[in-house]
């Protein structure tokens, strides 16, 4: 690992840490515009993080060490995920170990810890949130894996970097399987990032919460880390989606200039993606919880269809 | 004068006329005259084919050979006798208030159109048109099954439409696969669906595709034949429709569907080699026979019971054709004829019986002999005939099938005997009290129109005792062609 590679990797991570709250702020602004209300400032998430970091932590009596360490673990997982996903370049030092299945595992690890932490205190809303989160995760993970298998079949490898390189450098061919996989991926990322129609991130009705219910007990820097981790998760999923389905513009080497050139394109793609997310959130209503399995079942179905279509239609000429 | 063209024009034109004029007083007579015309043309056509061999009509679109010409005559004959029976029968139904005049008009016009579609299905050379005609035959009779508009008849017609529709969709897929296999050999000239061309090249058709195609065709057309486990629509449809419709459905449509399977079997045997198609048909036939025989014993409605008897006999015929070879094919063809004549005769007698007693439940029908000896004897003799008692013709064909099975497929014989025995016991046990039991009903003052029944039964009796040589030769030729 040479020095410039290390620098490039750190740059990518730093960009992720800095840009993730901006992405969340942008999505909130678009939602406000679409709903004809005045928007909070674009940098509002930063203000909130700043505020939270300067506040004291209040812990419940029964809180164990798990409760105090979970936010750090979750944050670490998300940073790792952002480091692995090739948002700017496919040739970063972490790339060889970046396996998509490992990536799903990293997300799963974060989910486990936050669910355990929510149940740690023993309040009913925490358990409620944990159970629902596990339900959604249980159904979303197979769908995500199927999407990944489809892309992996096309590029004959499960390494994210290889997938991106193969997809970026092929000719433009209409792949119906990728279309199905893309739609399935959208469904899954809506579910995993706790967005409408699965979960409303702006709700304050506890009985309808999934993600928010798990973090009700957190305060101060713990809450700041968890909110930041949520923004990083959205950033990571968006970058993953862009890398799998719209990979043009990602640099192939690890030169610093190449990375710098890739940043505006990434910013543009994320902005468009954020706007579309806001549109989806505005147009749809939140589903009742018992409909979530159907929603995710549809995602799974589409992903499997993409896989089957790939095997049937596209492997023979 | 081309008998064939005339034979098709009679039902088509009269069907159109009856759509408009079906409510006039002379409409039933028009029905009978049209059917008579059809039959005479069919007879003329038969004489022509017997004399000069197979021929094509309209270029190569229609092909008439020894296999389908006798089925054509049989269809026309049973169509004629049924129309004679249905004239006064349906008038009676109308007078009792169970039918209205517009519905009778629908009935008559659809009846003739149904005849037309069956004749087209039997004589066409194009397997795609065969499919179209089979589906059209189903469509023309759907509304007829629900003619009485009772909940039971609506349910029967719905099941008929949906299940036969699904079945025939499988048959379409089989036809597509067949066309695919044929196109590879015959090219895209449009001849690839013509049976005469296909028979010439049947050895070159790709075996994997043909086997898959035959499976779909057997399942698809087999649904219309009433092979188990796809037979669910048959008892309902045959029991709930008006009796003349039950007679033609049982007696004629099942034969046409089986004919379609036979044409495809010839191709499949040529492509895949003997054994595959035959074994499938034997398996289905035997299974159908057993299922029908056991369900027979549980029936309480007389028409349902005889519908299951139709399924049973169709299973037996399929088994016979599955065995293959000159003797078994001959027996199968003979049995098809006998079954048509006998089953329609039974339905005529049953129709009269149910009309007089007002019910179809067997427990409530008693003492038909006292009510009217003609009906009683008609039903009794018909039942004996269908159960395979000598000297009726059914005995001859069943005997041939059994002996052939004993010689070549001994494992099937106990199953056959068991099924036939169970059916015999069930039907006879139920019909005997119906005919000879005690009843307080008064005897009928006037004789019903019972001629068709005895006409059919005497034909069956005659053919059981003596088959004229030209008929034998005819059957032999057809049997040989079936392989």
């Amino acid at each position: 690992m040479n020095f410039s590679g290390l620098l490039a990797q750190l740059f990518a991570i730093a960009l992720a840490l800095a840009a993730a709250p901006l992405l969340t702020g942008w999505v909130n602004q678009c939602r406000a515009w679409l709903q004809s209300r005045s928007a909070p400032p674009l940098l509002q998430p930063y203000y909130m993080l700043h505020k939270l970091f300067n506040k004291d932590v209040v812990l419940a009596h029964g809180a164990s060490d798990l409760f105090r360490f979970a936010p750090f673990i979750v944050f670490g997982c998300m940073v790792l995920a952002c480091a692995i996903i090739p948002s700017l370049s496919t040739d970063l030092p972490f790339a060889p170990s970046a396996d998509t299945i490992a990536l799903v595992g990293v997300f799963g690890l974060a989910r486990i810890f936050i669910s355990l932490a929510a149940m740690d205190i023993g309040t009913s809303f925490g358990s409620l949130g944990s159970r629902r989160e596990m339900l959604v995760g249980f159904l979303a993970e197979p769908a995500l894996l199927m999407v990944i298998f489809t892309t992996a079949l096309i590029s004959q490898s499960t390494s994210v970097a290889t997938i991106v390189e193969t997809l970026a450098h092929r000719e433009f061919i209409i792949y119906p399987s990728l279309a199905f996989a893309g739609i399935a991926f959208t469904f899954v990322s809506l579910a995993e990032n706790a967005r409408v129609p699965v979960d409303n991130p702006a709700t304050h009705l506890e009985l309808t919460m999934i993600h928010e219910a798990m973090v009700l007990e957190y305060s101060g820097r713990h809450l700041a880390l968890i909110e930041w981790a949520a923004s990083l998760k959205l950033y990571a999923y968006s970058c993953l989606g862009l890398a799998l389905f719209f990979p043009w513009g990602i640099a192939a080497g690890d030169s610093f200039l190449g990375l710098l050139a890739a940043v505006p394109l990434l910013a543009f793609k994320l902005a468009v993606g954020g706007f579309l997310l806001a549109v989806i959130e505005t147009v749809n209503a939140k589903m009742r919880i018992f409909r979530a399995p159907e929603f995710l079942g549809t995602a799974f179905l589409l992903a499997v269809l993409g896989l089957l279509v790939r095997l049937l239609l596209e492997t023979r000429v | 004068m081309d008998f064939f063209i005339l034979m098709l024009t009679f039902p088509l034109v009269s069907g159109a006329l009856l759509t408009v004029f079906g409510e006039r007083a002379w409409a039933p007579n028009l029905n009978i005259i049209a059917s008579l015309g059809t039959f005479l043309c069919a007879a003329g056509l038969t004489a022509e084919i017997v004399a000069s061999g197979p021929r094509m009509v309209f270029g190569e679109e229609f092909f008439i050979d020894s296999l389908n010409v006798f089925l054509v005559t049989l269809t026309a004959f049973v169509g004629l006798t049924t129309s004679i029976f249905s004239g006064p029968y349906m008038k009676n139904e109308q007078e009792h208030g169970r039918l209205t005049k517009p519905r009778l008009r629908l009935y008559k016009s659809m009846y003739q159109l149904f005849m037309f579609t069956m004749l087209v299905a039997l004589t066409t050379n194009n397997l795609g048109i065969l499919w179209v005609a089979m589906e059209a035959a189903t469509l023309t009779t759907v509304l007829l099954v629900s003619l009485y508009r009772t909940p039971a008849s609506l349910e029967a017609a719905w099941k008929y439409f949906i299940l036969c529709g699904v079945g025939i969709a499988q048959a379409l897929f089989g036809t597509i696969l067949l066309y695919f296999a044929a196109e590879r050999v015959l090219g895209e000239t449009g001849n690839a669906l013509l049976w005469t061309h296909l028979v010439d090249v049947k050895g070159q058709l790709e075996p994997t595709i043909m086997s898959l195609s035959f499976i779909f065709l057997l399942v698809g057309y087999g649904t219309k034949v009433g092979l188990a486990p796809l037979h669910n629509w048959l008892p309902d449809a045959h029991a709930e429709g008006p009796t003349p419709i039950s007679a033609v459905l049982s007696g004629l449509l099942l034969n046409v569907a089986l004919y379609a399977i036979l044409r495809c079997k010839v191709l499949a045997d040529g492509a895949i080699g003997p054994g595959f198609a035959g074994n499938l048909m034997m398996g289905f036939g035997l299974f159908t026979l057993v299922v029908a025989a056991f369900f027979l014993s549980r029936q309480k409605d007389v028409k349902r019971m005889f519908a299951y008897s139709s399924i049973e006999h169709m299973g037996l015929i399929t088994f016979a054709f599955g065995m293959g070879g000159a003797v078994a094919n001959f027996a199968g063809l003979l049995h098809m004829t006998m079954h048509s004549l006998t089953k329609s005769a039974i339905f005529f007698a049953v129709g009269h019986a149910t009309q007089k007693t007002g019910t179809q439940v067997m427990e409530n029908i008693r003492g038909l002999m006292k009510i009217n000896p003609l009906i009683g004897w008609g039903l009794m003799l018909g039942t004996l005939a269908i159960l395979g008692m000598p000297p009726f013709g059914v005995f001859a064909s069943e005997f041939m099938i059994l002996t052939h099975a004993m010689k070549h497929h001994a494992w099937a014989t106990p199953v056959l005997l068991l099924a036939l025995g169970v059916a015999f016991a069930a039907i006879f046990g139920k019909v005997q009290p119906m005919v000879f039991g005690e009843t307080e009903a008064k005897p009928l003052p006037h004789a019903p129109a019972i001629t068709p029944v005895f006409l059919h039964l005497s034909l069956v009796l005659m053919l059981g005792l003596y088959i004229p040589p030209y008929l034998t030769r005819w059957f032999h030729e057809a049997a040989r062609m079936l392989g």
Partner: protein, 222 residues
């Protein structure tokens, strides 16, 4: 690896995938009017796919087939069905015998079976559209599943018609369509069938005051 697939083949594959997607969407659809619209959309996609095949192979009778499909399945039949729904005054939710996620899973199983069955045949064919035979068979089986698991009459009919769509796709994918006369006959059958069904629905509705086919399960062997 894939550089040799021409644009027309890609388009046909894309249309076939959309048809499969629509078949699943019909299977999951809860309401009747969108169901009929999905069926019309499927007919439209079918016609488009046939036209692309016609353009790329120069078989003129495929243009006529496509026109026939467009007229019948994308316009006439949906119009008849819409009129029926309006005159029968029904706007129900589609109930089904097993719940939607299970239906979907069974559907996936059927698709896998269909693809397996069709594989040896596709390998023997040499049309531009042969990959879509598996999809056609899958559409037929999905439509069949839809017919079995629905309890109201109109969705069963839509399933029946969707089966015809699948069969048409199978015909065009394996052999560039059947001879024209056969296709006309099939189209005629389908149309007459739809009309007869329309008449039939009124009879059912008059008798049972509802189009729930569970009313029609009383005939049993007893």
């Amino acid at each position: 690896m894939n550089a040799a697939i021409p644009l027309t083949a890609q388009l046909i594959n894309l249309f076939a995938a959309v048809i499969l997607l629509l078949a699943f969407a019909m299977l999951a659809q809860r309401r009747v009017l969108p169901l009929i619209n999905l069926f019309a959309l499927q007919g439209l996609t079918l016609a488009a796919s046939t036209i692309v095949a016609a353009v790329s192979t120069g078989q003129h009778h495929l243009y006529w087939s496509a026109g026939l499909t467009l007229l019948l399945k994308a316009a006439l039949l949906p119009w008849i069905l819409h009129r029926l729904v309006r005159r029968l005054h029904v706007k129900w939710e589609v109930e089904s015998l097993i719940n939607v996620p299970t239906t979907m899973l069974v559907g996936i199983g059927l698709v896998i079976i269909a693809f397996n069955v069709a594989l040896p045949i596709s390998q023997l064919s040499d049309t531009i559209t042969r990959g879509t035979l598996g999809i056609a068979l899958a559409v037929v089986m999905l439509a069949f599943l839809m017919m079995i698991t629905r309890t109201k009459a109109i969705p069963q009919v839509v399933g029946f018609l969707a089966m015809e769509n699948g069969l048409f796709l199978a015909a065009t994918s394996a052999t560039y369509g059947m001879p024209m006369v056969v296709e006309l006959g099939i189209a005629l059958d389908v149309l007459v069938g739809a009309i007869i069904l329309g008449v039939f629905f009124f009879q059912i509705r008059d008798q049972f005051d509802s189009l729930d086919i569970r009313h029609m399960e009383r005939l049993k062997d007893n």
